[in-house]
């Protein structure tokens, strides 16, 4: 049977360094926390500094149930990431290409989506485009305060698994270096059982009190 690709392109601009955006994409443990409205489980099957193979349970816009999918993400280089997603016994096969274009301390992200379908399903193109754009915007908007906050604490001297020295120790004076370059080392260290039984959504219900940014 002849196959075609449904396609969609989404893009957005963030006033943060590229490494911070990459940190966000490769911090798989935040998915069930920050994106708890869309994801309820993530399990990493394999990960190294360029590859992550994972299982996810995700609820997409307009689709009223969770899809169990397997995802293979490859960081080809610091400007390009590709991920392949497979669901429902490999009937759904989605490829996504992420381009990162950095200008100074700002970064543009362009995501191109390709869903392989039989030719007779080509009429679904407008719906696919609508779903993927909505998906991109919703997840992007959930990530933005996370990125803003991460950059804010980074500029205050934040160190992973330690925090900020002058906050931890009330006897220290502030020594803030706002031009500190954002460093990234993959894979990120894990704190949950995401590589064993998986990382799960914590609550069904919670009153959201906000970041207080």
């Amino acid at each position: 049977m002849k196959k075609i690709y449904l396609t969609s392109v989404s893009e957005a601009f963030a006033e943060y360094p590229k490494n911070l955006l990459l940190w966000n994409y490769w911090d798989h443990e935040h998915v069930v926390g920050t994106h708890f409205l869309h994801y309820r489980k993530v399990k990493i099957l394999y990960e190294d500094e360029k590859v992550c193979y994972s299982e996810r349970e995700a609820k997409m816009p307009f689709i009223p149930f969770y899809l169990n999918e397997k995802s293979l993400a490859v960081l080809e280089n610091e400007n390009r990431m590709i991920s392949w997603h497979s669901a429902i016994f490999d009937l759904i096969r989605l490829k996504q290409i992420f381009q990162f274009e950095e200008v100074g301390q700002k970064c543009k992200v362009i995501r191109s989506d390709f869903l392989e379908v039989p030719n007779f399903l080509s009429f679904l193109q407008p719906m696919f485009n609508k779903i993927m754009k909505k998906w991109f915007i919703e997840v992007w908007n959930e990530d933005m305060p996370m990125r803003e906050r991460r950059f804010k604490v980074w500029k205050l001297g934040f160190k992973d698994f330690k925090g900020v020295d002058y906050i931890n120790d009330k006897n220290l004076n502030k020594n803030i270096n706002v031009s500190r370059p954002y460093a990234l080392k993959l894979p990120l260290p894990k704190i949950t059982k995401i590589k064993d039984e998986g990382s799960f959504r914590k609550f069904k219900k919670s009153k959201h009190l906000g970041y207080g940014l």
Binding site: D27, E29, H30, V32, G33, T34, M146, R149, R150, V153, W154, L156, F158, D160, F161, K162, G163, V164, Y166, I167, N168, K170, N171, L172, N173, K174, I176, I191, T192, S199, K202, F203, S206, K207, H208, L209, G210, Y211, G212, L213
Partner: protein
């Protein structure tokens, strides 16, 4: 140490907690067991917001704050992380003057 106003009793009434950035500290003020206290709102793991969710009881029966980003739990009792004992939140000294809530910052 300097004494700085972080909010008012009125701010606290709505949810029994609020957080506010003040002088490069992110302070989480909360009312628990008839006492007003304040922790750092910055998770020492990756910097997430401790006070995004309201205080909840965890499976062990402890009252905890749960960081939004990676679900690390911090005990309301002493600010220590449930999952990683070496992580803990700073507790700020709090002073209530009339309707104002003040914290001591370095």
């Amino acid at each position: 140490m300097k004494k700085i106003k972080v909010g008012t009793i009125e701010d606290l009434k709505k949810n029994n907690q609020f957080s506010k950035w003040i002088d490069d500290h992110d302070v989480l003020v909360f009312f628990h067991n008839n006492k007003i206290r304040a922790f750092s709102n910055i998770c020492p793991h990756f910097g997430g917001p401790i006070g995004y969710h309201e205080i909840k009881k965890n499976k062990s029966g402890d009252n905890v704050f749960t960081c939004l980003w990676h679900n690390l739990e911090f005990k309301v009792e002493d600010g220590k992380c449930v999952q990683h004992k070496n992580l803990e939140l700073r507790e700020y000294d709090v002073l209530v003057e009339g309707d104002d809530i003040l914290v001591y910052l370095n």
